[in-house]
Amino acid sequence: MKNKILLIAAFSMLIYSGCKLEDNPTNAVTTASLATTADGLTNAVNGAYALFKDHEVFEGTTDANNMYLRQYFQMSDFASDDVVCSQVTTDPLWLSFTLAHVPTQENASYFWYISYKIISDANTVIEAGSKISNPTPAQQQLIGECYFLRAFCTFNLARFFAEPYTINPNAPGVILRTSTTDPAVKARASVKDTYTQVIADAVKASQLMTDGASRGVTFATKEAAEALLSRVSLYEGDYQSAITYSNAVINSGRFTEATAADYKTLFANAQADKETIFCIAFDALDDYGKEGSIASQYYTNGNSGWGEEFASQPLRDLYAQNPSDVRTSYIDDDVDSTGTQQYKNGIPIYYITKFSFQGGSPSLSSPIMFRLSEMYLNRAEAEANLNQTTAALTDVDFIRSNRGLSGALYNGTVPAGQTALDVVLQERRLELAFEADRTFTVYRNKQNMDRTYWGYHILGLQAADINLSVAPANYPNLIVPYTSTKIIYYIPEAEILSNSAATQNP
């Protein structure tokens, strides 16, 4: 009897019922569900912004050095004459200083990858949105933000990976991704076609988004799209459009130029400052500190960062012409208690603080992508190019009068030996230093980059060789001509290998 019971129990165990064999993700949703759930689209659009600040997995690793914005600033400003390198490093940021680019360079590869991830996210939302009949203004705003994000990211890709429009509009631009069902293998469009797509997207964005549905300056807005159009038009040499779009933003009445007093806190307070048109929100949880914050490259309070990249000597010399210029407040000279200048590997330490002090944290800021000053400077540059000298100088003076330089205005007079464009570009350098502008401005104006100052962009430099009382001489590549192939980055090797239609930069 006992055996029989056991036997029955045994056989019943041979049969399994209710085996679902399902293991669905618990911290992710299916792509298809984004269009069908209430918050799906909002979440997906927010995700696109998050990609600017998150450390995404790349090449199997979550590396704190990999962040869209960290690389956005290092790939542009470290290649300029505004930032000096005080430390040879294995971080690929060093290659941005030396311009010894390689196709497997991680900062450029990650930047390329995340740009397209944002574009893919935007495309997913745009496609889902196109299926909504009678979208609400809020839904139109979300879709408009995605057009903006696609335009913004495509334009930034073109800035880093394609020749400037003004140098060769027919050169290869970037790969235009406007649909999630695109074939994976796709060729680069020309620079010209790239700009056409960017402008079309930005125009569409400015039409879809309305001030009423705006989600604030930490998201794209109608004015952010117009600000982008102002910038793109300037890069394209379409000066009339640049003026038109700058005017649209300036006259929108939504922004106010920071005064000399406010300016010192503009960058720590970007989300609330009236000058900000569009910034990427970082909150306390996004304070990456020493490992991976943008600020950690430029500044340290002793513990908050590496503090290895400083304001360059020529930039400091330029500010020094007007000691009352409040913009020098973002350069922090490191001296000890006796007033002795501190050095790192022979380079004087002048920290840059444009990415610090949000909420008091030395490693936190919400980096500004567009602000009102640039609109004035874009307009001024366009005006200078259109020989509207007085208008150009007026715009420059408007900036200067808000930067503590009321006593040093041009008042309609171009200084001897300079052109109006020289004046505008110098002001642009002073105003937008460390904001990913300088390199592009120099090269699109067909100027050469003069980096004749001591720093570890000079290959093989030893601290013992540095003599700060004279300029470095006899080192190669101190001046980078705009004709150099090194003014842009290689298309990432990973793209070339898996996309047979993509061509490499020379």
Binding site: L21, D23, E59, G460, Q462, E495
Partner: protein
């Protein structure tokens, strides 16, 4: 038990241990083989109860002095049953015939879901007994298996307390799916155990043996069998191992204060490349002003400051026995491993109870329970990094021997590049972890008829893991002032139930056995974690974090449902045929693709049982084997087939969804088609040789197929590409010398593996940490390094040089040249991180009661990229990092015409960029273990009421012979976060161990 008096007595006995027998008589005779009467040379003839004896000569004849009076002699020889013979008072001549013992062939081997007689095996299986395992002292069975199984590669890439080795069987056969072998404990997949409780380890190597495990067996199967009661008598065993360990820094010798001082003069040479008027002399005035001689006042050895010898202890107690109804085994282990690195350690307690209750002869119920708990302290990578890189010119301690605080604001001179004192950081941080694990196994064996048995085995398991990272507000760095605490917990419940009908019957000369049944395996894992900052000084709990609070956590519940069957047929103990078939359904795949089937067939011919070999004296065993089968992989994580958006991020304090994964609805099993041919041969009853050749093709790889990055995804999971592994394994086990007093046995194994990638959708260059690239292409190898070739130093300029290879349209090399422009150097394939061959060579010598054992392990032909060298051999590009003492023959370039190995610090552009300069030959031969021991005479042990006392001294990882430059060459081959296979980074060094072992049985 061990009082002083007894110890003294014991020592006395050791000294006076000699043969004090009264004069007697001489016994002569001949030893023969019973079957045919031929002489049996080498047979031992021993007076029972003594060590007195002799060995038979080549003709089987012997002569032995025996005491007067009746005496019993024992005659024994390997491969024969021993025989006791009573010699009468007046007897002086005797002939003894021994019967052959085919124990080897009748020995029972644990295989997948069943047991087989060794002689009946048709597939490639290696059994390692506890005896052969216990030489190395570790908490990790992998370390113990190293060098003992042909085809098994074991990499101990870390010496951190409690770390696990990486095990690879017959090469690496997958790219993105998991590669570790499946561990089976007491017949049930998965499970926890302590190495001290292990009776034997069976390694299943070919598909003939592993296909029964289907989709979980791609990496091979290791079956752990724990101890069971052996005899009626209650047996107790106590083992104590105690000793210490020291870190093995390999050839990573860092400079001392004056070496670095001298080295840095090179940075002050008057030389600007490309200009004239260089004097090439060192500007000593500038040097002395910037490197004052006072820095020599400090000579800190950071390595010996942070790494110290640490104690190791392992205690084990067991009791086992049998009654008519019940078999029981109890084992308890306490393992305590100090870490050589400051503030690291690992402790583990393991309790096991194995009980089998016999309702009747045939109906048995087995209850096994294993409980383990561990705790320890881990470390932060950066602290080890600074142990190597901080300069000897800095002193970590102040005058009162307190670790000093340094940060970027410290105004006193701190020479090291990063303003960090790791000793202070360790003082202000903590990385504790804990685990708890319980397994309960329930098995019932229920005969239904004489040939049919129902068998159910079930395991319930629960585990808990906890790890924490703590920084006090007083620590230097990111968390200075705020502190940081991050606690992570993992809870897991698992269950597995296997229900089989087993049959076994004989028909004439044929015998058939087999099984059929069903298995369900499922688990639920929950991770929960939280972190925060703003900790009050002195407190270390989540309750008191006040800022940046973050939480994380997710559940996961994978499951597998399987149907399995196996049939083994044998005819006349000569011909054997086996087949198995398993169907697995996995939760990892989409509905419609969940199920995969895994068949195998294998055959064996025991030629030595054929008439023509039956009486052969040379060959006592000859078995030919052939197997073919398919195993699979499904272990790639959940829901890889879905298009997904991750919700783990946030933007502007709102939920955000970021693109995670491209949809791949047709994703299904990766399958490994395995063909194996092998033979086992036994010679002279003292040599056993096993040879296997295999041809394994992994098809439909679960591959993360590279996408153009412009799609917005790096890769997409697809079934694509193939990995081919061809290999040859050779193992020999030999009794070289065997006589009464002296025995010498040798085990040697070597395995060759050749790996190729096939049908890859596109070439992928994977660039990981430190910018090191590996290339995946059709026709290439796995983990193939892809980088420029280092071409030394330009004698005229002192600049580094790399090779430029010019090829024509057909890819034929037309010319080569060198360049000092790194960007124009040619990327080339430079060898793989996987070895071409590896193996072990183990010897044991026994002389009377003494033994000496020497075990070695070797790997050959693998490349290791030592990423450390870019920092510690950096040609002055980062002058404030300590440098390695370079091997003899190295020199820094000093002037035009100088033939040097190291570039000029003044002309070092890109010299530390990735190239073969730092790609080293990773081949090595490691002296894994040397042990010297002594068994106390039984008579003495019995006086202490013990049955056996063994003492031994052993040393693990005694020395590694290698040409590798860096820490020891054992380098991880598992890809991961910040890890590229074969790329060495500053690691927790492996350990040398010096141990005293005491083993007592009673």
């Amino acid at each position: 038990m061990f009082n002083l008096k007894k110890l003294l007595l014991f020592l006395f006995l050791i000294i006076s241990c000699c043969n004090l027998y009264a004069q007697g008589r001489v016994l002569k005779g001949k030893i023969t083989i019973a079957k045919d009467g031929t002489p049996l040379p080498g047979a031992l003839i021993v007076i029972k109860g003594t060590t007195n004896g002799t060995a038979a000569g080549p003709d089987g004849l012997f002569s032995l002095s025996i005491p007067n009076g009746p005496v019993t002699i024992e005659v024994r020889s390997i491969g024969f049953f021993s025989k006791d013979v009573i010699i009468n008072v007046d007897q002086n001549k005797i002939n003894v015939a021994l019967d052959e013992d085919n124990k080897q062939l009748s020995e029972v081997v644990v295989t997948g879901y069943s047991t087989q007689k060794k002689g009946n095996l048709t597939s490639a299986i290696t059994v390692v007994s506890a005896e052969k395992l216990k030489d190395v002292t570790s908490d990790d069975i992998g370390e113990m298996l190293q060098g003992k199984v042909a085809g098994l590669q074991v990499v101990n890439s870390s010496g951190a307390p409690g770390s696990q080795s990486e095990i690879r069987l017959r090469g690496v056969s997958s790219v993105n799916a998991a590669q570790a072998p499946l561990i089976v404990v007491d017949g049930i997949i998965g499970g926890d155990y302590d190495p001290n409780d292990v009776e034997s380890v069976t390694v299943l190597k070919d598909a003939g043996a592993t296909a029964i495990y289907g989709s979980q067996a791609n990496g091979g199967v290791i079956i752990i069998t724990t101890k069971k009661a052996k005899g009626d008598k209650t047996q107790y065993e106590f083992k104590a191992v105690t000793g210490f360990r020291t870190p093995d820094f390999g050839s990573m010798t860092m400079m001392n204060s004056s070496e670095l001082y001298q080295n840095q003069k090179q940075l002050f040479r008057d030389y600007i490349p490309g200009t004239t008027g260089n004097s090439y002399v060192i500007d000593l005035v500038q040097f002395q002003s910037e490197r004052p001689a006072s820095i020599l006042n400090n000579n800190t050895n950071w390595l010996t400051t942070l790494f110290k010898p640490a104690p190791v202890e392992n205690y084990y107690f067991s009791a086992m026995g049998k009654t008519t109804k019940n078999d029981y085994y109890f084992g308890a282990t306490f393992y305590d491993e100090g870490g050589t690195f400051m503030n690291t350690d690992y402790k583990r307690i393991n309790l096991r109870s194995n009980n089998t209750y016999h309702f009747t002869d045939k109906i048995t119920l087995t209850n096994n329970i294993n409980i383990s708990g561990s705790e320890g302290k881990s470390y932060d990578y950066n602290d080890i990094y600074y142990a190597y890189l901080n300069l000897p010119w800095d002193n970590p301690y102040d005058a009162n021997h307190n670790p000093i605080y340094v940060d970027g604001n410290s105004k006193f001179q701190w020479w090291s590049r990063d303003k960090t004192n790791p000793v202070n950081t360790i003082d202000n941080s903590d990385h504790p972890f804990k685990t708890f694990d319980i397994n309960y196994d329930l098995a019932l064996n229920l005969p239904i008829t004489s040939w049919l048995t129902f068998n159910t085995t079930n395991r319930g398991s629960a585990s808990y893991g906890y790890s924490s990272t703590f920084y006090s507000p007083e620590v230097q760095g990111t968390y200075h002032g705020s502190g940081y605490l991050n606690d992570q917990s993992t809870y897991n419940y698992g269950g597995i139930s296997t229900n089989l009908m087993k049959f076994d019957f004989k028909l004439g000369k044929s015998a058939i056995n087999g099984l059929a049944g069903v298995e369900f395996e499922g688990s639920q894992t929950n991770t929960v974690g939280a972190s925060g900052q703003g900790l009050p000084l002195g407190l270390e709990s989540l309750d008191v974090v006040s800022t940046k609070q973050a939480i994380n956590g997710a559940p996961d519940s994978p499951s597998i449902l399987s149907y399995l069957s196996q049939v083994n047929y044998s005819y006349d103990e000569r011909y054997f045929l086996s087949g198995s078939y398993r169907v697995d359904g996995s939760s990892a795949f989409a509905p419609g693709n969940k199920y995969g089937s895994f068949p195998s067939v294998s055959a064996g011919w025991l030629a030595s049982n054929e008439d023509f070999l039956k009486d052969n004296h040379t060959i006592d065993n000859l078995k030919l084997r052939l197997s073919y089968g398919i195993t699979g992989t499904q272990d790639i994580g959940a829901a890889r087939y879905l298009g997904l958006y991750s919700l783990t991020s946030q933007y502007n304090s709102a939920t955000s969804a970021t693109p995670l994964q491209l949809e791949s609805p047709n994703l299904t099993w990766e399958s490994k088609h395995q063909l194996d041919a092998g033979f086992d041969i036994g010679l002279f009853h003292r040599i056993n040789i096993t040879v296997d050749a295999y041809h394994n093709v992994t098809k439909n790889l679960l591959l993360q197929v590279a996408q153009p990055l412009s799609v917005g995804f790096e890769s997409k999971w697809e079934n694509s590409g193939e990995v081919l592994n061809n290999g040859l394994e050779f193992a020999i086990s030999s009794q070289n010398i065997k006589n009464k007093d002296f025995q010498w046995t040798t085990d040697f194994n070597i395995s060759f593996n050749n790996n190729k990638l096939q049908d890859f959708p596109s070439t992928v260059v994977s660039t990981g940490e430190d910018a090191v690239s590996q290339i995946y292409r059709t026709g290439g190898n796995l983990y193939e390094f892809y980088m420029p070739t280092w071409a030394g130093v330009n004698a005229q300029t002192g600049a580094p040089q790399w090779l430029v290879v010019n090829k024509d349209a057909n890819g034929k090399v037309t010319s080569t040249s060198v360049t000092s422009n790194y960007a124009s150097a040619t990327l080339q394939e430079q060898g793989s991180a996987l070895p071409k061959f590896q193996g072990g060579f183990n010897n044991e010598f026994k002389y009377k009661k003494f033994f000496l054992r020497i075990n070695t392990y070797f790997e050959y032909g693998n490349k290791v990229y030592n990423a450390n060298l870019a920092q510690v051999e950096n040609d002055g590009s980062e002058p404030l990092l300590n440098q390695i003492v370079l091997p003899k023959g190295s020199s820094v370039w000093t002037h035009p015409g100088d033939i040097a190995t190291e570039p000029s610090p003044e002309n070092n552009a890109n010299s530390t960029s990735v190239s073969t300069r730092y790609l080293k030959n990773g081949s090595y031969l490691s002296l894994r273990n040397i042990a010297f021991g002594y068994s106390l005479p039984k008579t003495f042990a019995q006086k202490l009421k013990l049955s056996d006392i063994n003492l031994s001294l052993s040393a693990d990882n005694v020395y590694t012979f290698t040409r590798y430059l860096g820490q020891d060459p054992a380098t991880t081959i598992t890809p991961g976060n910040f890890v590229t296979p074969g790329v060495a980074d500053f690691k927790y060094p492996d350990n040398r161990q010096f141990l005293l072992n005491i083993n007592v049985k009673f």
